[in-house]
């Protein structure tokens, strides 16, 4: 166990370094630079400017240095807490993240709060009631929600009350501590949309894990010695079915972030997902770069935590 943890921890810096090279490199490959952006008009039409202006701007942004020097400088800045400024708004990226992160964090929290119980609950229900009408019902809904795109579901959720009752969610966005009621209303609907699409994936996996466990000998033994159905499910089967489901938490989190990109766009929430789309639109590379580094590190850390907890719960993993 210890060697496994140490090995995984030693690989962590390697992954993070690869991540920063990836974030830095990918953004360098994007056509157009800050110099073009600054020299063109606001519509981004023509990249004009004299060669002198161009050289001055390149020197100002450090683009005249070789790429590896730029990379080291950038990493140095990020490590010392200087995240740089947005090319678009000229605001410190640190401030932008600090303002937008709570929105996405709240959205993610609410999403997962709905997502995990709905997903695991329906999965287990469906496995225990295998081939009965409620199992067929749940499976039908699962297949349906796997196919309905979240952006269409969100569109319908906005559209249907609007057409039927001329009702729209309150806008613009209110902060949680300013107006908790309005804020929760604005957040819970997008969270439910994001959760419903994801829960189908989780529910389906939970069902197959549960069926796999219910097929095991020790479950049959427990039944044979007269343990009641409820206790077999809750104590013998569920515990073992949960172990593989832990590995899904990484996936769940990544899904939640991808969902927030879509949902924030549709419901007009000023969060991190919207920031990514807006920055990509505006070619605001420093923000995109830091976004990738920030969430990339989060994804990598969560996957690491998941793998380690998996090793704690399942002794077979430790000795691979």
């Amino acid at each position: 166990m210890r060697t496994y943890v140490i090995r995984r921890l030693l690989l962590l810096p390697v992954t993070v370094i690869l991540l920063s090279i990836f974030a830095f490199g990918l953004v360098r490959l994007v056509p157009g630079s800050v110099v073009d952006a600054r020299l063109s008009n606001t519509m981004g039409a023509s990249a004009g400017g004299t060669p002198e202006q161009r050289a001055a701007l390149e020197a100002h942004f450090g683009l005249d240095k070789p790429v590896h020097v730029q990379f080291v400088n950038w990493v140095g800045q990020v490590l010392t807490g200087d995240f740089g400024t947005s090319w678009l708004t000229r605001e410190s990226i640190m401030d932008t993240f600090a303002r937008r992160m709570p929105v996405t964090a709240q959205l993610l929290f609410l999403t997962l709060l709905l997502y995990i119980p709905i997903g695991i609950g329906t999965g287990i229900w469906s496995a225990v009631r295998r081939n009965r009408p409620d199992d067929y019902g749940i499976r039908f809904l699962t297949v349906l929600f796997l196919a309905i795109p979240n952006f269409w579901l969100a569109t319908l959720v906005v559209l249907i009350p609007l057409v039927l009752w001329h009702y729209a969610l309150p806008a613009p966005y209110e902060q949680l501590w300013h107006n908790p009621g309005t804020n929760m209303l604005q957040m819970i609907v997008p969270a439910a949309v994001a959760a419903l699409s994801g829960a189908a994936v989780l529910g389906r996996l939970a069902r197959s894990e549960m069926l796999e466990v219910l097929r095991q000998d020790y479950v049959r033994t427990a039944r044979a010695k007269g343990v009641s159905g409820r206790i077999v499910v809750m104590r013998h089967a569920l515990r073992n079915a949960m172990i593989p489901l832990i590995t899904l938490i990484g996936l769940v989190f990544a899904d939640g972030v991808a969902g927030s990109v879509i949902v924030e766009q549709i419901f007009g929430l000023p969060g991190m997902g919207r920031l990514l789309v807006d920055s990509i639109f505006a070619n605001d590379l420093p923000v995109v770069q830091l976004w990738m580094l920030f969430f990339g590190t989060a994804f990598v850390l969560i996957n690491l935590a998941v793998d380690l907890s998996y090793a704690v719960f399942d002794p077979r993993i430790r000795f691979q």
């Binding site: 690869l18 056509p31 952006f151 990109v261 990514l276 639109f281």
Partner: protein
């Protein structure tokens, strides 16, 4: 012999299994996998519409003064804000979705086979590094990576197909590498190596047939995801630019005409049906290739 149960194995006078005629095999497949057959039907319909759509449904770009007409009569699905026939546009959207999904999948499978087999065969530093890179990339949600890649490669059909192909490659490389490693350690491969069979021939004759089933399962499951990716990209206005009609973009544009609900319903139903078709087909492909999971869900 004539009294054999329908569907039971039939042997000729030498005891060799006689393959039942195609029609009977198809009928059996239909009975055992009715949902998969339904999925296949949708997929075939989509491919036909993608290939011949404009011939069947008419020109999706033709303007008419009859704007925002309700469904029915001359325009089955009504018309959009520019008076274009919405049925023709929904049908034309099939072409973009299906062609992107299939192209991306072909690119993905091609790169994954090369990369995964090389990685497993070469081992060493290349293998180690490529595994770490994949670990890192797989931690990202596919949609986010696709947004970033499309930014680098540009927003046209070819770049998005390539970007989507690269996203699909990542998961497939793992599968290819895993199956290759497993096959390479089999004793028949060792025997082949001893008698001097070249690495390329080993990969072709022994490894490839072993990779095919797990890869087929993965590909079948991803085709639906490809349709969703295209929709989401277009919905965020970061997909293939106009005039190619795209379901995702039709949904965004419908938001300006929310009173005309037909504009938001038909493209959504189209995406859902396409994804449903691919998913149902994919589930049956998995059941057929992986008996261990049969009936799991």
């Amino acid at each position: 012999m004539s009294a054999a149960e329908p569907g039971a194995a039939v042997f000729d006078e030498y005891g060799v299994l006689v393959r039942p005629p195609l029609r009977r095999r198809l009928r059996r497949l239909l009975r055992q996998h009715p949902l998969g057959a339904f999925g296949l039907l949708i997929v075939i319909l989509m491919i036909v519409l993608a290939a011949f759509g404009p011939l069947i449904a008419g020109d999706p770009t033709k303007l008419s003064p009859n704007i925002l007409a309700a469904p029915g009569g001359e325009y089955w699905f009504g018309t959009d804000g520019l008076g274009r026939d919405y049925f023709a546009r929904v049908v034309a959207g099939t072409r973009l979705s299906i062609s992107l999904a299939l192209t991306a999948m072909t690119i993905g499978v091609g790169i994954a086979l090369l990369w995964g087999m090389t990685s497993a065969y070469a081992a060493g530093l290349f293998d180690l590094l490529s595994q770490r890179v994949l670990d890192m990339l797989l931690a990202f949600p596919g949609l986010v990576l696709l947004l970033l890649l499309a930014q680098v490669t540009g927003r046209n059909w070819q770049s998005i197909a390539l970007g989507m192909g690269l996203i699909f490659t990542m998961g497939m490389v793992r599968i290819v590498r895993g199956s290759t490693l497993a096959t390479l350690s089999a004793s028949y491969v060792e025997a082949a190596r001893v008698i001097g069979v070249t690495p390329f021939r080993i990969l072709w004759r022994h490894v490839l047939p072993n990779i095919a089933p797990p890869l087929a399962i993965y590909v079948a499951a991803l085709l639906g995801a490809a349709i969703l990716f295209e929709g989401a990209l277009s919905f965020l206005a970061l997909g293939v630019p106009p005039p190619n009609p795209s379901w995702g973009r039709m949904l965004v544009e419908s938001r300006d005409f929310w009173q005309h609900t037909h504009l938001s319903i038909f493209p959504g139903v189209a995406i859902t049906l396409a994804v449903l078709g691919f998913n149902l087909l994919g589930d049956s492909v998995r059941d057929i290739f992986d008996p261990r999971l049969r009936g799991a869900d």
